[in-house]
Subunit: 208 residues, 2 copies
DNA sequence: CCTTATTGACTGCCTGGTCAGTTATTAGTA
DNA sequence: TACTAATAACTGACCAGGCAGTCAATAAGG
């Protein structure tokens, strides 16, 4: 067995390790300012090795974003199940999960930052992200709203056309934390509760 | 009088022209990827001239962000006047203005993008922005919510602690447009109307 | 000993920043 | 008004350093 710190042949693990290191560096410095030497150092290899697995810096960036998106894509499937019970209860569960995923988890936030920063360099990346991740998420949310309306639980509202309005506080919290850091983050539990409360009142059938 | 296209001495106008050109380039390419030669070309001068007015690329970036923030800062003052009439009416006017300012105006959106992309490089920039621009805006919104509660128009809600929740759809629309382009922008008027409608229902005193 | 994953020194290009020189402008003089 | 001198805004050629990408040499594994 090879000694740690020495050269080892690891064809299988390398790409994942490189992407992992690349994510940290891209998130820290942005695409242009990231040095492949630093990525390599973080992965415990040298720059040359990166080029055995990725043809260019741009390709490495693309691979990184795709890889980091995978968990949320996979989790989305579970949420698309046929709704039952109170629509509001579904929304509660849904948003509790989404908060944990997008606001609390640093990686998801950093992906948002990276995409926003680099869309002009990779226009098709944003398109794919919308088509594969965001679009379905919006559609899923819309389905729950419709379900609530059919059930007589919700009134008809703009939330049916723009489920984005319901999702907005998540993006707000995400952006806030990205910009002002963990120290100034909005209090997670209270904020989520407030979000759900306002949403419930906003959507509810009421006052006759 | 000097002929157009020839060298001219313009000590007064230069800084503004350079900042203007820098904004376009920074917005297009981000901080690291922006070339000062391009900025100079856009401003109709050469790189050397930039260094007569700004000591470094970083200083130019800072000056650019500050300059672009100025209009929204100045407009904010006008909105902080003593509230009167329906609180909801104030919110309507307020958000109509904010939409025009932040969602429709490309420059404000690009500022958001630039700040998000580069905050890690300029931590004090984010701090100042929060202290000077965002903080007062949140406070202003909170004042209107309190006014509405005192008036018996609004119920007590999380919007008092987190006015962010009311502002969130603006950030959402802003972010959406930044990422997916003008072609996929959310329909401005209908979206704003939906935002206001949900907000009104969410905040309103009602159902006894 | 053969294969191949990995290295690390090397290249060429790019770009932030410099500075000696150039030219428009203004002030001074007649 | 015409000419000259002094000033300083502006230029552009020029470094110096950094970094993406290359490749011949090396060493681990079978």
């Amino acid at each position: 067995m090879a000694v740690a710190g020495q050269r080892r042949r690891r064809k299988e693990e390398r790409p994942g390790e490189i992407v992992e290191a690349a994510f940290e560096e891209f998130a820290r410095a942005g695409f242009a300012a990231t040095k492949l030497d630093d990525v390599a150092a973080r992965a415990g290899i040298t720059k040359g090795t990166i080029y055995l697995y990725f043809p260019s810096k741009e390709d490495l960036f693309l691979a990184t974003v795709r890889e980091m998106n995978r968990p949320s894509q996979e989790n989305l499937a579970a949420l698309t199940a046929a709704p039952q019970g109170s629509a509001m209860a579904i929304l509660r569960t849904h948003f509790a999960f989404v908060y944990a995923q997008m606001v609390e988890d640093r990686r998801a936030r950093e992906i948002l930052r990276m995409l926003m920063a680099e869309v002009s360099r990779f226009p098709d990346l944003a398109d794919r992200w919308r088509a594969e991740v965001i679009g379905p998420a919006v559609e899923n949310l819309r389905r729950v709203v419709r379900y609530g309306i059919e059930r007589g639980e919700f009134r008809p509202s703009a939330a049916e056309e723009f489920p984005h309005l319901l999702f907005a506080p998540v993006i707000m919290a995400c952006t806030w934390r990205l910009m002002f850091g963990d120290d100034h983050a909005l209090d997670g539990a209270a904020y989520l509760e407030g979000h759900l409360d306002l949403m419930e009142r906003g959507l509810a059938q009421g006052e006759g």
